[in-house]
Symmetry: C2
Subunit: 168 residues, 2 copies
């Protein structure tokens, strides 16, 4: 059975979580996870460059073929949407450079994929990601857990992949 | 008197305008301008990669040392803020890779810099940019004119440059 490597990204300007899993049939394995933190004292363009470079380095190191990425829900917070959009743009450029197939998921879809309910809280997501990937400890920080959850979500949405919009 | 080259960017997912000017003292000259258009039929990550690559190619070709970029006002349009944020993130990564100093300006600041009023319309901005840079024709499309206006705005905000926030 073929093994494939899937990247997951939880984009954010201050913290961009990332996680890498390997899938062989129904079996998932965690390869690595982490978080790109950028201080607000840095210039915006430098922060975005750091996100781009570090996601690129992860793609270089683990050679994933696809990526699950969260589409954040902002309510009416235009400022947050703009800031996160910039971080997401920087991360997606790195993904495109490495030829990754992109699956975009709402927080609800990701929670549903790992916790069986779209209203799971951060703690439940961390716990369930730890269980699904048989980790000795639940993944921290929550941004990394959310990224691993996005990668897991990708494996459950095989036929609903799109770079153009959200799978229903 | 030293000559320096300034890039201007009007970011957008469907259309990212760019313009390059040279400044020697109070004298401004237009070097080139254009617009990166990405069709909505393309995958999001491919569109962002195109913006990143083409802005990078412009920076490579003209070797600017600084960039003026528009911070769009979205009202309450979260979706537009998120989309434009992604395009802006992709463009800013290219700017950071080329070591450009970033100046961020509101549409009002940019209009004020070229047209003397913050409420100038698109047509007025195109006309005034054409006048200031002594172009034979007003620059088209308006995204390119807005980008040239952002570059001009940079020259009038020497002491208010920032990558961290908006100059007042």
């Amino acid at each position: 059975m073929e093994r494939r490597v899937i990247l997951g990204i939880d984009p954010g300007l201050a913290h961009t979580g990332w996680g890498v899993i390997a899938q062989r049939g129904g079996k998932l394995e965690c390869l690595s996870y982490g978080c790109v933190a950028t201080p607000s004292s840095q210039a915006l363009s430098e922060r975005l460059l750091k996100i781009y470079q570090q996601i690129g380095a992860v793609a270089e190191r683990f050679a994933p073929t696809c990526v699950g990425i969260e589409t954040v829900w902002f309510g009416e917070n235009v400022t947050a949407a703009f800031a996160t959009g910039q971080a997401r743009g920087a991360a997606l450029v790195a993904c495109a450079e490495h030829g990754l197939h992109v699956g975009e998921y709402t927080p609800r879809q990701i929670k549903l994929a790992v916790a069986g309910t779209g209203s799971a809280d951060k703690r439940q997501v961390q716990y369930m990601v730890g269980q699904i990937l048989a980790l000795a400890e639940d993944p921290h920080p929550d941004h990394a857990a959310d990224a691993l959850a996005a990668a897991i979500c990708y494996t459950t949405h095989e036929n609903a992949l799109s770079g153009k919009g959200l799978p229903v």
